[in-house]
């Protein structure tokens, strides 16, 4: 029997969701806040879903959540997820409400798929206990909220239930060893014969052996601390993966114990391959026939808020999410751009203005980000838009990028006006999670300019 206060809060929140949706709003956050207000321990009383799959980690959560959910839906499962909402308590509560009966007594869907912010794990997992948890990776993230990897690792260690089946990235020697007592399946992306190692990252979050503090040897360093390591002093080394993959001819060839299959890649970045691999590992754990999901996964693309490319009169415009204030996500995109040397490029970096009315951003993360990757002849313009353009200018100058390449405007929508369309043939718009509409508007302005100014 659930407490009356919980039932009341549940019904009010459910009605709030309905009203907001009638009004054309998403209703993915506010009803959760209402529930917590009416019943502070609301989450404690939510019914445990029949199958709860959680996805956490610094980067890749949203992409994996979307991939997994799409395949499960196409396979006929009834499902509730927070792909459209927030990955903190409020959004998770709304997802759980939608997965439950009218009075919140029992779960009514086959599967709940939750993207969970690492930071709030202790407020979620003790109550909504995941059957399976995918940990995509762990890197340093927002300094204000997440501090450093060791802290996030500690939070997860304290929160993850001992029975939860983990799916981990064996190429991440930090997150793959989390909760050593839990059952786990791991995946790895093998190094290609001529794959370039990225050893010039400004930050590497694992340098010393977690067992004996000796310096680790990177047998292969894909980027930052992602790769294969071993300790010369003790037996610590990267784990042997259960699922190994290699990319050949735009196909991700996955080798498990008894099967070898090829999947279409999601994109050119190793991060895209890792996201796909994490999803494949999940279906492997769920006992799916991998051949059956091969077709389903091959149909899918990365959700367009993450990577969205169009070409107009030979000019390529790409919107890429860098997750503002996240030095790793931004560095990975800078690394991608430095390798696109066949096109003369312009980068548009815009700030998340949604917080600026109350927050003066700490731009220290610029100094952990690999701006050095932009010191390339094909990167002709770097355009800043928004409130932190003066800080960006300082960082660009200190990086040694000629300031002639930097233009800026306080109004991020005006960045489209600054692109030199005579010279540039690839434009990358780098936005955060909260300014996707602005990025799309900038692209719209750019398309209009190209249509009117560029000869076919």
């Amino acid at each position: 029997m659930k407490p009356i206060r919980y039932t009341f809060a549940f019904v009010v929140s459910r009605l709030t969701i309905i009203v907001l949706r009638v009004l054309g709003r998403n209703g993915t956050h506010f009803p959760g806040a209402v529930a917590m207000r009416l019943c502070p321990d609301f989450i404690k009383h939510l019914p445990q879903p029949k199958k709860l799959i959680a996805i956490t980690g610094t980067n890749g959560k949203t992409t994996v959540t979307n991939l997994v959910s799409d395949v499960l839906k196409n396979a006929g499962y009834t499902l509730s997820n927070n792909a459209m909402g927030s990955n903190i308590q409020e959004g998770i509560i709304v997802t759980a409400i939608l997965a439950s009966s009218f009075f919140g007594n029992k779960s009514v869907v086959d599967v709940v798929v939750l993207e969970v912010d690492e930071r709030i794990s202790p407020r979620i997992y003790p109550y909504l206990k995941p059957d399976i948890l995918i940990v995509t990776n762990l890197f340093r993230d927002s300094y204000r909220r997440n501090a450093h990897v060791e802290f996030i690792q500690m939070m997860l260690e304290q929160a993850i239930p001992s029975h939860t089946q983990l799916i981990v990235n064996a190429d991440d020697p930090i997150s793959s060893f989390i909760c050593p007592g839990n059952p786990r399946i791991s995946f790895s992306l093998q190094a290609l014969e001529h794959e370039e190692q990225v050893k010039d990252s400004r930050i590497v979050d694992l340098i010393y052996c977690p067992k004996c503090q000796s310096e680790l040897v990177y047998d292969f360093q894909r980027y930052h601390h992602i790769g294969q390591v071993h300790c010369q002093n003790c037996d610590f080394k990267s784990m042997k993966a259960d699922l190994e993959a290699i990319v050949i001819d735009q196909k991700l060839r996955v080798q498990s114990k008894n099967q070898s299959l090829s999947f279409d890649v999601l994109g050119d970045n190793p991060t895209d391959h890792y996201n796909l691999l994490a999803s494949i590992a999940l279906f492997n754990v769920l006992g799916f026939d991998l051949e059956a999901i091969q077709m389903e996964l091959n149909k899918l693309k990365i959700v367009k808020t993450r990577f969205d490319q169009v070409e107009v009169k030979g000019k390529q415009i790409t919107i890429m999410m860098t997750k503002d204030q996240n030095p790793i996500a931004t560095s990975r995109i800078f690394d991608y751009i430095r390798h696109q040397s066949n096109r003369k490029s312009a980068l548009i970096l815009i700030n998340e203005n949604s917080e600026h009315h109350t927050l003066s951003e700490n731009n220290a993360w610029y100094y952990d980000t690999d701006f050095e990757y932009l010191k390339k002849d094909h990167v002709l313009q770097i355009i800043g838009g928004g409130h932190r353009i003066l800080d960006l200018k300082v960082k660009i100058a200190l990086t040694g990028i000629p300031l002639e390449r930097y233009q800026s405007t306080w109004n991020e929508l005006d960045t489209a006006k600054l692109v030199d369309l005579n010279e540039i043939d690839a434009i990358y718009i780098l936005n955060g999670t909260k300014n996707i509409p602005e990025a799309k508007q900038i692209r719209k302005h750019l398309i209009e300019r190209i249509e009117s100014e560029v000869q076919a």
Binding site: R144, I203, S214, E215, P327, A364, Y366, K395
Partner: protein, 236 residues
């Protein structure tokens, strides 16, 4: 000039490597010794002009204390001899009497100062800092798990906005001879070009301006205005 960066591979969280970028630009001839965690510090057997260490994780704080513990006397001598120390974020916790965690467990610090640090994880103390060093306004950010007690008579400067060594004091940092410890991040040198010019002059910098001084000054002025604006008082 000889600069020693103590444990930059683990003790330069929150963008503090930016300080090194500026230092290298300003002192291209300087010898910069990067001491790794398992190395003997360079200052033990050699003369240095400046020792720099930034914020690290709470586990590495403990390991660093162990690594530096054999050299307490030498550090004390260097402080007495007016060697410059620049310690930011929770690096200054290490030099106090002890660090106490949330469960009351204490790890002895180097004991060079009589303050102690308390950890309150998962609570994060975030703050803007606006203060004055002599007549010069300075800005910084704080993002930390620890607070320092009790307030120090040797504090570095008074904070007008934000908080000092802990939330109940406006006295920020520690200054003893040329040892400066501050919880302020930013990186502080880049955020405060006029202060840094003075500081670097004390280290032998001879030019009238820093490289990209005008650009840094423009950003500094914008930040001063923002930090004085009522809507930015809280840094959630």
């Amino acid at each position: 000039m000889i600069v020693e960066m103590l444990y930059p591979e683990i003790a330069s969280l929150y963008g503090e490597k930016g300080n090194l970028d500026l230092l290298k630009l300003c002192f291209p001839e300087a010898i910069i010794k990067m001491t790794m965690l398992n190395d003997e510090p360079y200052f033990v057997k050699h003369e240095v002009d400046l020792i720099v260490m930034g914020p690290t994780t709470e586990e590495f704080q403990k390991i660093i204390i162990k690594r530096l513990n054999p050299y307490i006397d030498r550090i004390q001598t260097l402080i007495r001899e007016n060697i410059h120390f620049w310690m930011t974020g929770n690096a200054m916790d290490i030099f106090g009497a002890y660090i106490e965690d949330e469960e009351g467990n204490r790890v002895l610090g180097l004991g060079l100062f009589d303050y102690h640090a308390c950890l309150y994880r998962p609570k994060r103390f975030n703050s803007y800092v606006l203060g004055k060093i002599e007549d010069l306004e300075v800005v910084g950010f704080k993002s930390q798990f620890s607070q320092i007690f009790p307030p120090q008579t040797q504090s570095w400067f008074k904070v007008d906005r934000g908080f000092g060594l802990n939330e109940k004091t406006m006295d920020e940092g520690i200054k003893l001879n040329n040892f400066i410890g501050t919880q302020c991040l930013g990186p502080f040198w880049i955020l405060n070009p006029d202060f840094t010019l003075q500081y670097f002059k004390a280290l032998g910098y001879a030019k009238a301006e820093l490289p990209y001084h005008a650009e840094m000054l423009e950003a500094y002025r914008q930040r001063i205005l923002e930090f004085k604006d009522e809507k930015y008082i809280n840094y959630p």
